[in-house]
């Protein structure tokens, strides 16, 4: 592999890893702060992609807007949906054992898949990115790199910075950090834990939906797209350490590199490599890279 190809593959790995971070960060927050294993997190990613597909024509027709308007609208819907879901379903999961949470959220995956089938059908769809992002940037003499993928990476980096600022520099971020280390203490300090949980869950959902919406033009919109992302995000969360955003960031990039270079250098072993990575890290540090508390 020559230098030019290596650099392009690094770019591919970075883009994939950053997208994973968007999904995994929500998952690690929910898992770390609320102690809830939510298998349906991949469904939020799928919902995001289908929202991108469904909102585009509606937004164009009624609001005269384009991709970004649809994105904004999708985010608002995601927050509302996350809030409602936490209030109506997830809040009943806090007191339950892990096994019950796993199974109830597994049931939720089936419900979301079928609702998707009822509302949006079972066909594979494409989503068009905004016109000014459809070009390609020349890289070397033979290949060009789609501008849209650079845009995706840009959005993910912006979100990562935003998360850092919120978590490290704001009061609510302080409460989140405290809640991740010691839930009972935070409660006894009078922080409105109910409200905090609802906000965190809605934020987690919004992050996954955002990931799905911006990924839709490159990955297509198809049934079952949430499943693959779900498992990989859990791997990222576990490698990074449950509840740690920093860990999720590092782990996503690690997984992005292993997956991309694995696909190219060892196509037969590509699928296995990510899990070998996780098993190796867990055996070295049984609670992930940056464990909390």
């Amino acid at each position: 592999m020559d230098l030019a190809t290596f650099l392009v593959q690094c770019l591919n790995a970075l883009q994939y890893g950053l997208l994973l971070f968007l999904v995994a960060s929500g998952l690690t927050l929910i898992f770390g702060i609320m102690g809830v294993i939510n298998l349906a997190h991949g469904s939020f990613y799928m919902i995001g992609a289908y929202l991108a597909y469904a909102l585009a024509p509606w937004v164009a027709l009624h609001l005269g807007g384009g991709f970004f308007t649809a994105l904004l609208l999708g985010m608002m819907l995601a927050v509302a949906f996350g809030y409602a879901l936490e209030w109506g379903f997830v809040s009943y999961l806090y007191e339950r054992e892990h096994l019950q949470q796993v199974l109830m959220t597994y049931g939720l995956i089936l419900v979301f898949e079928e609702l998707r089938s009822l509302l949006a059908g079972d066909d594979v769809h494409g989503v068009k990115p905004p016109d000014w992002l459809t070009g390609s940037v020349p890289l070397g003499d033979l290949m060009t790199y789609p501008v849209y993928r650079l845009f995706m990476s840009g959005v993910c980096i912006a979100v990562a910075l935003g998360l850092y600022v919120v978590i490290a520099r704001t009061r609510i971020g302080m409460a989140i950090r405290a809640g991740a280390s010691n839930r009972e203490m935070v409660q006894s300090l009078g922080v409105n834990i109910r409200f905090l949980y609802r906000v965190v869950f809605a934020a987690g959902v919004a992050l996954a939906v955002l990931a799905g919406m911006i990924a839709a033009p490159v990955s297509s919109v198809y049934p079952g797209m949430g499943n693959q992302v779900l498992i990989i995000s859990f791997v990222v969360v576990v490698i990074g350490g449950i509840g740690s955003i920093r860990g999720a960031f590092l782990a996503s990039l690690l997984v992005g590199v292993v997956d991309t270079f694995g696909k190219v250098l060892f196509p037969q072993a590509a699928g296995v490599l990510v899990y070998v990575l996780m098993a190796a890290i867990l055996l070295w540090r049984p609670e992930g890279l940056f464990r909390q508390g």
Partner: protein
């Protein structure tokens, strides 16, 4: 009653029963079980096949072999893991007389095994897995479509004639992809060309970016790609977006551009593909078929609809020969083996392994049509290695 009248009564009863049984047999419907993908990346193909099949039956007045058809449907979701359970629903629960299916090569292999074990008649309207007319071939299994090897071989021959010496192939890692590439390798071998790299990704994954980078790095003379349905749409568009289309010609079997041109738009213009069907064929049967299909379903037919239509034709040949008596399996099979099908694609016959022997056309994408640009290979028969029929 004395002994003699008893005997007469018995004979009359038996005769009456036989007549009513035969009448009941003649009145009762032939059960056709569709096992097709109605969801997922191949859903459009499944629907087109069923439409084509039903069109033919309708043209025959709703009857084949003098009996009406009762349809059963199972969605196979293009999932090989559920194939056995799904086909058992048709065979053991619904007791169908013939199974028609499917699209995905992995699913059809499981179906063929069960059909062979239960001696059920199976007519395949698409899936080109070679094993089914190879090591797994059986008298009760017929194909009315193609083998994965055929279009690949034809494209390999064309690519070689156009001077390609180093080719990179890319496809999904399952039977159809592997066999298509094998066909291409056999076809290009005659002109001394070689496949230098075989890229694959798991079905139905469509994240091509890393592999497109690999293609660019390898700098081949051409790329041969097999994808179908939603995957084909994405690949052609991604290939174009990566700027590879300007310097490295993309070849593929017709599935790359069949039923997908509207979605692919400008990215697909000028692409050369090979298939046993094309647009612009100057055949009366094709013109009639297209008009009828358009009128019935308000959409243009594609190769999948043609294959569904021809599956019904093939089945009809057998049923007509036995006048609808599906129990006469040997005669039914014998008639189907000798069939000469007047298909919208042209006429074709079946090889000893029940595989179509047909012309493979070279097509070029112009607008939203795969226009025929000549015949790549005439009367191509898959050697069907491993079949002992």
């Amino acid at each position: 009653m004395n002994g003699r009248s008893q005997k007469i009564a018995a004979v009359l009863c038996a005769a009456a029963l036989t007549v009513t049984a035969a009448a009941a047999q003649a009145q009762s419907k032939i059960k056709v079980g569709f096992m097709l993908p109605y969801t997922g990346t191949y859903a459009a193909l499944g629907n087109a096949i069923e439409n084509g099949f039903r069109l033919y039956v309708q043209e025959q007045g709703g009857k084949l072999g003098g009996r009406e058809i009762e349809y059963f449907k199972v969605d196979d979701e293009s999932e090989p893991s559920k194939a056995v359970d799904n086909i058992n629903k048709l065979i053991k629960r619904d007791n169908v007389d013939v199974v028609v299916g499917t699209v995905h090569s992995g699913v059809v292999m499981a179906m063929a095994k069960v059909a062979k074990d239960t001696n059920t008649l199976l007519v395949i309207p698409n899936a080109g897995a070679r094993a089914v007319t190879g090591p797994m071939c059986a008298p009760s299994i017929f194909r009315a479509s193609f083998s994965n090897w055929q279009p690949g071989y034809a494209m390999g021959k064309v690519a070689g004639e156009k001077g390609a010496k180093k080719v990179v192939t890319i496809t999904w890692k399952y039977a159809a992809g592997d066999e298509s590439v094998e066909g291409f390798k056999d076809g290009i071998a005659a002109s001394g060309g070689q496949v230098v790299k075989e890229l694959t990704l798991p079905f139905p994954n469509v994240e091509f970016q890393a592999l497109l980078t690999e293609i660019a790095a390898a700098k081949p003379d051409a790329v041969y790609a097999f994808f179908a349905g939603g995957g084909a749409v994405k690949f052609v568009k991604d290939y174009d977006a990566a700027g590879l289309g300007k310097t490295i010609p993309l070849y593929g079997p017709g599935f790359l551009t069949d039923g997908t041109l509207e979605a692919q738009g400008a990215s697909a213009q000028g692409l050369l593909t090979t298939l046993h069907y094309a647009d612009g064929l100057d055949l009366p049967k094709d013109k009639a078929f297209r008009a009828a299909y358009q009128a019935a379903y308000k959409a243009a037919p594609d190769v999948y609809a043609v294959q569904g239509y021809d599956s019904a034709q093939l089945l009809a040949v057998g049923l007509n020969a036995v006048k609808g008596d599906v129990a006469k399996r040997a005669e039914l099979v014998a008639a189907m083996e000798k069939a000469k099908i007047d298909s919208p694609r042209g006429t074709f016959t079946l090889s000893k392994s029940h595989e179509p022997v047909q012309d493979i056309y070279l097509r070029k994408v112009e607008g939203t049509q795969n226009k025929v640009a000549g015949v790549a290979v005439k009367a191509l028969a898959d050697p069907s290695p491993g079949c002992k029929m």
